[in-house]
């Protein structure tokens, strides 16, 4: 149990550090690398919750495929450092205040949340049980997700196609 708690803290701190690094870095490549750190620590958290399938997918899809694509795009576009924002205007100040207010509000509410205790034996995280659920209870959403994929495929082609109008 102690090991699990220790791992939780390590992964949480790493994840938050990755998130902060993503936002404050001026170099897009560093930002992308911080995001990978964040994804890996999330995968670690999933593992400690016995959601093995989710952890594997997190690493394969997000840290693997999506981030490699991100990095390729960043390097292809040859992006330089983000320009430092000078001065202060009312709109930015107001949105900053709103964001702070929103986070504070969520924290205050979530502080009092009482979550039901998790079952002793947790078996949903295995590939087998997820596959079972996908083919029984969640058959319909599982199948119609293909429409999203087809639609976004067409969309990507429309945007990327070479034509001059």
């Amino acid at each position: 149990m102690a090991l699990q708690t220790a791992l939780f803290w390590i992964f949480s701190i790493l994840g938050i550090a990755g998130g902060i690094g993503l936002v404050i870095n001026r170099n897009p490549v560093y930002s992308a690398l911080s995001l990978i750190l964040n994804f890996f620590s999330l995968a670690g958290l999933y593992l400690s919750l016995q959601a093995e399938f989710l952890a594997v997918i997190q690493v394969l899809v997000y840290a693997g495929a999506i981030m490699v694509l991100f990095l390729f795009v960043i390097m292809l576009l040859n992006l330089s450092d983000e320009p430092r924002v000078e001065g202060f205007d009312i709109a930015r100040g107001a949105s900053f205040l709103l964001a702070i207010g929103f986070v504070a509000e969520m924290l205050i509410i979530l502080k009092d949340v009482v979550l039901p205790s998790s079952p002793e034996k947790f078996t949903y995280g295995k590939v087998e049980s997820i596959g079972n659920l996908l083919m029984t209870n969640y058959l319909f959403p599982f199948e119609v997700i293909s429409v999203v994929l087809v639609a976004s495929l067409i969309g990507a082609i429309v945007i990327a196609k070479k034509f001059n109008y």
Binding site: I109, T136, N137, F140, P141, V148, A151
Partner: protein, 483 residues
């Protein structure tokens, strides 16, 4: 049992098959028939959704309670197919005149309607989310369709970034609700546990933000004018009607399924009521100041969102009023956007100045546009009046009398900017007039059908409402509400 489920979702399956067929035909360069096939797809979906079969007329659940079919769900399916169908009437001619032969758009239009049907008929937050994403992704592409047009680029990028952000709020809200209620399915949520856990309000708040963004309610409206004015005009009409209708119906179902079982529902209804009021006032006030016709209609669509939100405060009766409102709004707004598209030259914004005297030069065009605008303003005997009547009467029944009165006042004030367009068309002249030159007959047919429907719905509401009740087993709701 499983076969039964498949029979229930035949309209959706038919539409998906149409979309795939369109993709294939485009790939094999059989392009002239694409609009026709898409049209057959929409008509077929609407016909299949009609309760022709035994047992299809009552609303029920299919696929482990994932999706509603029959009854109100059929009506909604027909509504959304109709919005796709009438967009088609204007689309092919518009693309031809703009000299932009883009054929992938027909498959996207069909898939967007599939997403809308899923969104509006979902009984599970996961299906709601999938529907929302299917619809949104297609709409982002539609906004950015003209790649060499800076305004279209701006519209697409803005819509995509803000939409993705709103989706983040929405999915976080679903996660919190799931954490509290132990299920994403409306039929098996544990509301007592949700309430106890304290996750109800944050989850609901985040989901509200997601929905309010999609329907462009007041604090989340900022994308609307830019996106609608940058998008290809007939598709802007589609965004303003179909996508909003689907989002509103999903929103209404969400409220009706969750709120009766929670203690704080009064508070949440009040929040929505206040947002409805702000949306009505903001949309109508800002619309008055617009010079561009598309921007004016965009702000007017914000104002109309306010009226529907007001209806959603009124519980199940309000949901019916909202469905009827969106039905009529779809007919008149696709017509109005389509006619603006008909008078639009290549790469030019539709400006109110150019429209001066258009009604005198082209009386039929002027008359049809006047029908749409009068109907949008809610002036009897047109259908727009009936739909507003249903909304306000349902709000009054739910004891939101003050809000209803304020809504009626803003609606009367809003009539000003619709009538200003009619005045310009018939009583003013200009140096640089626009001309209506369509390349084929379809837009004219579309305008004719839409205008005739609006007149018929307005003149003989009882004939239609009793049919609606009868066909879709709606417990005589519409018959009772008809004056």
């Amino acid at each position: 049992m499983f076969n039964q489920d498949l029979i229930h979702i035949i309209p959706i399956l038919f539409l998906i098959a149409t979309g795939l067929l369109l993709m294939m035909l485009d790939a094999f360069k059989v392009r002239s028939v694409l609009p026709l096939i898409a049209g057959i797809g929409f008509v077929g979906t609407a016909v299949l959704a009609l309760p022709l079969q035994e047992g299809m007329d009552v609303q029920q659940l299919a696929f482990n309670k994932m999706i509603f079919t029959g009854g109100l769900a059929s009506l909604v399916t027909i509504l959304l197919s109709v919005s796709g169908l009438f967009t088609l009437f204007f689309l092919s001619d518009f693309l031809k005149r703009q000299e932009k032969p883009i054929y992938d758009i027909y498959a996207l239009l069909v898939f967007a309607v599939v997403g809308m049907i899923l969104l509006a008929n979902a009984n599970d937050l996961i299906v709601t989310f999938i529907g929302l994403e299917t619809m949104s992704i297609c709409l982002y592409i539609m906004a950015a369709l003209f790649k060499r047009d800076l305004k279209s680029n701006e519209a697409g990028l803005k819509y995509f970034l803000l939409g993705a952000f709103a989706t983040g709020f929405f999915i976080y809200g679903i996660a919190l609700i799931y954490g509290g209620a132990g299920s994403t399915n409306y039929s098996s949520m544990d509301f007592a546990r949700l309430q106890e856990s304290g996750l109800l309000l944050p989850g609901m708040g985040l989901i509200l933000i997601g929905f309010l963004f999609k329907v462009s309610a007041f604090p989340f409206h900022a994308w609307t004018p830019d996106v609608y004015s940058g998008s290809p005009t007939p598709l802007a009409g589609f965004m303003a009607t179909g996508s909003k209708a689907a989002a509103f119906i999903a929103f209404g179902i969400f409220l009706n399924k969750t709120l009766p079982d929670v203690v704080v529902n009064e508070k949440i209804y009040n929040v929505i009521g206040v947002i409805a009021l702000l949306t009505m006032i903001y949309g109508n006030v800002v619309a008055v100041q617009q010079k561009s016709l598309k921007r004016m209609l965009a702000y007017s669509s914000i104002a109309h969102s306010g009226y529907v939100l007001l209806a959603l405060c009124a519980g199940p009766e309000g949901l019916m009023a909202a469905v009827f409102y969106m039905f009529i709004y779809t007919l008149m707004n696709i017509g109005a956007f389509g006619m603006i598209g008909m008078a639009e030259l290549k790469d030019q914004d539709a400006d109110l100045d150019g429209w001066k005297g258009l009604g005198m030069r082209n009386p039929w065009f002027g008359a049809a546009m006047s029908i749409f605008l009068f109907s949008l303003a809610g002036i009897p005997p047109l259908a727009g009046f009936m739909s507003k009547y249903f909304v306000f009467i349902s709000a009054i029944h739910a004891k939101y009398t003050l809000l209803a009165i304020l809504g009626i006042i803003t609606s009367v004030a809003g009539a000003f900017y619709y009538i200003r367009v009619i005045v310009s068309m018939f009583f003013q002249t200009t140096e640089k007039p626009v001309e209506v030159k369509t390349s084929n007959i379809y837009p004219t047919i579309g305008v004719g059908i839409l205008a005739a429907l609006l007149l018929l719905f307005g003149l003989y509401p009882a004939a239609f409402t009793s049919q609606l009740d009868h066909l879709f087993v709606l417990a005589d709701y519409f018959t009772q509400a008809t004056p």
